[in-house]
Amino acid sequence: MTAQWHDACATDDVDDEDLITLKLADQVVAIYNTPEGFFATAGMCTHEDESLDGGLVMDGVIECPLHQGRFCVRTGKALSAPAVENLVTYELQVRDGRVWVRV
C-alpha cells in the first residue's frame, strides 16, 4: 500500500515537549511537539509492546515509559538500552495549524 497524507491533529493538540499517539492507516503513530518542530514516528516501542504515549519527551528524545529506552524523535534512532531497534519515522508537515503525516 502506498503512503498517503493524513490530517492527523491540530498543532494545539500536542503540548510543548510532549507527544500524542493516534491510529493512522492502521498504524499507531506518535506525533511530537519539540522546540525544533513537529516530528512523527511509530507509536509503539521496539523493545516490547509498549505505547510511547506515556513517555517523556526531552531534548528531542522520546523515553519509553516502561523501561526508559530512548529514541531520537527526528531520526527514530534507538539511543540507549533496552531499546536497540530504531523506530520507523514518518514524513510530517504543518499546514494552517494542522499536522499532516504521511503513513
Partner: protein, 337 residues
Amino acid sequence: MITNATTSNIHMDKKQLKALMRRSDRPGLKYLISWVALLVVTGIPVMLSVGTWWFIPAILLYSGCFAVSAYALSHECAHGTAFRTRWLNEAVFWVTSLLYYEEPLHRRYSHASHHTHTWIEGEDNQMPYAPIPLTFAGWVEEILGLGLYWHQTKMFVLHSLGIFSDNVKRVTPESELPRMQRNTQICVAIYVGLAAVSIWAGWMWPVYLIVLPRVLGGPIMNAFILMQHVEMAENQPNIVQSTRSFRTNWFFQFLYFNMNHHIEHHLYPTVPFHALPKLSAKLGDQLPDPDPGFLSTHWEVLKITIRRSLGRNDRSRKIRQAFSDDLTGADHDRSMA
C-alpha cells in the same frame, strides 16, 4: 504476563504524571554530593580506627551507608532517572554498578524483565534465590546474599568468555551480547587491576572502603531489597498486590533514594526518585497504606519466616501479606489465613 499501571487498575492524570516525570540534574547531584560527603565523614573514622576495637562500629556504620546507596543509586541510574544529563547518569551508573558488583548492561536488561513481569515466576529475572515462601533458612540466605554473590561471580566469568545462559538471552537482544561481553571484560579488568595495584602498592584502603563495606553492608542492603516484594502475591498482574511500599525515616529514605515508595516506582518507573513522595500523594487512596517503618516491617517478615519454619501460623496482622496460596510452593491453603 505483563505488570503495569493499567493491569493494576491505577489511573493518573497524564499532565500531572508528565510533570512528575520531568528531569533535572539538581536533585541527583544534591544526593550524590551528600552521599559522598557521608562516605567521607563515616570513612575517616574507619581509616583512623584500623587495629582498634573502634574499627568495628566505624566500619559497620560506613558499610550500611556505602552498600545501600550504591545499590539504590545504581538502580536509579539503570532507569536513567537519576540525572537529566545522560553522560552523568551513565558515568554514575558504571561506578555504582561496579560497587554493587554487577555489570551495568546486564543490570539494565535483567531489571527491565523485573518491571515487565514483576514477581512472575520464570519471567522476572530478579526473584529471590531461596524458594518462596521464604523459610528462616531462606531469609538467612537472602540476607547474606550468597545466591547473589555466586550468581554475579558466575556472570562475570561466563560473560567475559562470551557464554550467556538461556535466561540472559531471553531478556537481552542478541545484538547486545557482544557489548555485554565487552562491558564485563572491562569490569573484570577494573576489579583485577585495582586488586593488583593495591597489592603492588601495599594499599589497604580498597579493602576497608570498598570490599569489606560491600560484604558487611550487603545484609543491610539485602534487607531493603527483600522488603520490596517478599510475602507479596506472585504470578498476578496487579503491582499493588505484588509489591510493598513502607514508611521509613528521612535517613533511610535518603540512603534508599525513596525506594520505600516501591509500588509507586513500579507503577510509573519514569518518575525520578525525588518525585516519588509527590507521586504517592497524588495517587492517594488508590494505594494501600504503606507498611510500618523499615525495621518493624522487616522484623515482621523475620517472625513470619521463623513461624513458618516451625510449622506455625505464618500470618501477620501488622504488614500486608499475600494469602499463602498466592506464594509459589506453598502447601497451605487460603483457609489457614
